[in-house]
Amino acid sequence: MGTLEFDVAHLLAGGLVLVSFVMLYQDRLYALLNVFALHSVVLSVSVGWQAFVQDAPHLYLTALIALVFKAIVIPVALHRIIQRLGIHREIETVVGVGATMLVGMGLVALSMVVMLRVTADADPLAREDLAFALSIVLLGLLVMVTRRNAVSQVVGFMSLENGLVLAATGAKGMPLVVEISVAFSILIAFIVIGIFLFRIRERFDTVDIGALDVFRGERR
């Protein structure tokens, strides 16, 4: 493998981590959705690059799925949901932005340490990819944990899944069936969560999941 291919793959994967960080400090819903769309675009470019490097045509299909569903369909759908629900567009965060960013940096460092050490004798490209993918997964989880709004939790979940796709494409020889089934399961999860959002709104007039806790008679 030439050094150019490696560098570009590295750049794209690093770009994904960077976009994940961008996602961490968004405090408006529309901005968050736009960043998620960007995240998915970077992912599909990265997957397409992997397809080119590994000479695996089925990965182009994966890239296309990522582009169509995650960069276009899901963000547009979420935009429309937000409009129809008339959600308050500011996101209430649990922890301050600065603290969240610091925690995110710690997570990236942790995943680097773990992955680079565990996969010491693996292909260098796969190693870097895995390390970045783990950071993206952890950052996606962090987004889910630090937000109160259900829509932003959906976005956190989707970005987490982007990390999984990155890991899957970085490893050579991942069958297409696995990728397609992952993509479809994500789509189904999105549909289910979307329906849930409407149901929650119908009942409680808000998608702040704090209302659910109040409904269950608990203190926050």
């Binding site: 773990v114 952890l138 889910m144």
Partner: protein
């Protein structure tokens, strides 16, 4: 057809009978088919296994393409398996014949019929299994099927609790065995027993394996302090199943221990023998003390099973200790004694449980203090029960004496051990064994006396009638077996020789070569026993005594007033009862072991109520081990209950923190 295939076919036939039990369990014909079929299949399997044991047939094995992929199911029969298959089959056939008559009193036969043959089949398969997966699968099948049998009478009394405790302990034991076999298989994954025999595990692995097997097989066999399920579960099942569980399933557990520690584990650690020896001795004494305190006849028998399992484990422990010090002949003697006692116990314990079942059918009561005088109404049952009591009390010329005598011969070999710790300890264990044997004799004198002698204490005991012929036939067959095994133990000892020579590379001298059926374990000059001579002596002297007495006295039967303690026309309740008979022993041992307390409540003068004498006993195992554990689990679950009602975000946060924590562990330790 090789022996292993024949036995597998028998197991399959038993499973098929289980299906028959499901389909046709309602009618009498279905029940007869299941029980007669089980008895026939067991007889066939016994013939096949005896052929392997006596004929010196080579080890036969087979791999079936079922079970785990790439592994298959390995089955194999060698002398050790064959011996235990014979035990299962003899016990199974007797229980099946007994069930033919006893099963008619079963209120819900469909709760018993499908599981009875399946239970027998599962025990066969455990003995034949030759890889870890098959062994554990069949072991767990055996546990589950027997659990179903324990739950057959789930509406009665405490039986659901018994089933729950049994299920819990069985699962725990299998978990321990699973870990032990996984350790033996190693990281290479050699799950076939043949692979395990080939590798020699590291010393610390071997030590861990011994401890885990002691927990796993010990909990099934009833070793202290893992015995708590046994006195609950064994009596809860229908009586012929109790006979199987107590007489046979505990032997399968002994097989599991011997197979793993003596066969698969090439070199057990030096202290293994010591640990097994001590556990066995303590189990024997505490088990028989429990039995002496018990009023319920079936629970008393279950506790006595614990005692006998302790005796068997003392033998196995001695074999391990002798083997570790290079004393092959002594080790073979101890193992022979242990296996012989296992066989004998399976016979007389089955006999006693069948007798208890007959009493239960006749009077509807398991409480010994509700019986009395049954010898007049149930003479055959009384006679068979008496033989069983004499055998389990180790009275010559019956089989219990032969095996316990052999075990004491092994204990007497201890001065030749080099390590002086063991040299001092083994005679101490011998002392405990002697104590257990004496207490067992007291226990069974009490059982027989209270149940069968004296006058009936309840109207039900007065109306009791002899049980049906099938039940009696099963009991008489076991009596014959006990007597024969007591008179000619040499035949059995010779049959055990292939087992000891396969496991320890040593065997006892061939007994068949000696004249007059004498048993000589080591050398003629040291000790010998001749069951036939003792039997002839007892028979002749008893006959002579009877002749002399009848000669000198009138031979007419006379009935006179019983010795009545100065109370003419006393109530039957003034007789010795189980509690009063055991009182001296309870005062001596019970106060320390069971914290036994006696209180007498005297009503004030003028009050018409009767005075009450109350005895409280605490089971040390529950008190010191299980009650604290249940309290801890209950407390922890109460605290964790709060975790059930957290917010979604908190749950997510927990997942997140757990993930990060695990990653940190990897980052730091790798």
């Amino acid at each position: 057809m090789s022996a292993v295939l024949a036995l597998l076919a028998c197991a399959a036939g038993l499973l098929g009978l289980g299906v028959v039990g499901v389909v046709g369990g309602r009618g009498r014909v279905g029940a007869a088919v299941v029980y007669l079929g089980s008895a026939t299949v067991c007889a066939l399997a016994a013939v096949s296994a005896i052929g392997v044991l006596l004929g010196g047939e080579p080890v036969s094995e087979v791999v079936l393409p079922i079970g785990l992929p790439w592994l298959g199911a390995h089955f194999r029969i060698d002398a050790l398996s064959a011996l235990f298959v014979v035990l299962v089959d003899v016990g199974g056939a007797a229980a099946a014949v007994y069930g033919l008559g006893h099963g008619r009193h079963e209120g819900h036969p469909r709760r018993v019929l499908p599981f009875f043959p399946a239970f027998l089949a599962a025990m066969h398969l455990v003995l034949l299994a030759d890889d870890a997966f098959t062994f554990l699968f069949c072991w767990e099948l055996m546990s589950l099927v027997s659990w179903a049998l324990v739950m057959a009478h789930h509406q009665q009394g405490d039986n659901t609790r018994a089933g729950y405790v049994y299920l819990l302990m069985a699962g725990f034991g299998t978990l321990a065995l699973l870990l032990a076999l996984a350790l033996l298989a190693g990281s290479e994954g050699g799950y076939a027993f043949a692979d395990m025999r080939a590798v020699e595990p590291a010393p610390h692995v071997a030590a861990l394996v011994v401890v885990l097997v002691l927990v796993g097989a010990g909990s099934k066999a009833g070793l202290l302090p893992l015995h708590v399920w046994l006195p609950l579960a064994h009596p809860a099942a229908p009586s012929h199943v109790s006979a199987l569980m107590s007489g046979v399933m505990t032997k399968v557990a002994v097989y599991g221990f011997v197979r793993i520690v003596l066969d698969l584990l090439a070199t057990p650690p030096w202290w293994a023998g010591l640990a097994v020896l001590l556990l066995g001795a303590v189990t024997a004494v505490v088990g028989v003390l429990h039995a002496l305190m018990e009023r319920d006849i079936k629970r008393m028998l279950a506790y006595s099973t614990i005692e006998n399992v302790g005796i068997v484990f003392v033998g196995v422990g001695l074999a391990l200790a002798f083997d570790a010090h290079g004393m092959g002949a002594a080790a073979a003697l101890a193992l022979t004694a242990a296996l012989l006692h296992a066989a004998n116990h399976s016979w007389f314990k089955s006999l006693l449980f069948l007798g208890a079942g007959a009493v239960l059918v006749a009077t509807g009561e398991r409480d010994m203090d509700a019986q009395g005088g049954l010898i007049h109404r149930m003479p055959v049952t009384a006679f068979t029960f008496l033989v069983g009591c004499a055998a389990i009390s180790a009275l010559p010329p019956l089989n219990g004496f032969a095996s316990e005598w052999l075990l004491f011969q092994a204990v007497l070999q201890s001065p030749q051990i080099e390590q002086w710790g063991l040299r001092i300890l083994v005679p101490g264990v011998g002392g405990l064994l002697a104590l257990a044997a004496a207490l067992a004799a007291a226990c069974f004198v009490r059982a027989f006396g209270v149940v069968f002698l004296g006058r009936p204490r309840t109207p039900a005991a007065m109306r009791a009638a002899e049980v049906d012929r099938a039940s009696l036939a099963a009991m008489v067959a076991l009596v014959v077996l006990c007597v024969l095994a007591g008179i000619v133990p040499g035949v059995l000892i010779d049959a055990l020789a292939p087992v000891t020579s396969a496991l320890l590379d040593a065997r006892l001298p061939t007994q068949a070569a000696l004249g007059w059926l004498t048993v000589v374990p080591i050398a003629e000059g040291r000790s010998s026993y001749n069951g036939l001579l003792v039997f002839v002596f007892i028979a002749v002297s008893a006959w002579l005594t009877v002749r002399v007495v009848h000669r000198l006295a009138s031979d007419r039967l006379r009935r006179g007033p019983a010795w009545d303690c100065g109370f003419p026309d006393a109530s039957p309740l003034t007789q010795y009862a189980s509690g009063s008979f055991a009182q001296p022993i309870r005062r001596v041992f019970g106060t320390t072991v069971f914290a036994a307390r006696e209180t007498v409540e005297m009503p004030p003068p003028g009050d018409g109520r009767a005075a009450r004498h109350r005895v409280t006993l605490l089971d040390p195992a529950w008190r010191w081990i299980y009650d604290p554990i249940t309290a801890a689990v209950a407390g922890a679950s109460l605290r964790l209950n709060a975790m059930q009602f957290l917010t979604i975000r908190r749950y997510l946060g927990m997942v997140f923190l757990a993930l990060v924590g695990l990653l940190l562990v990897i980052a730091i330790w790798r």
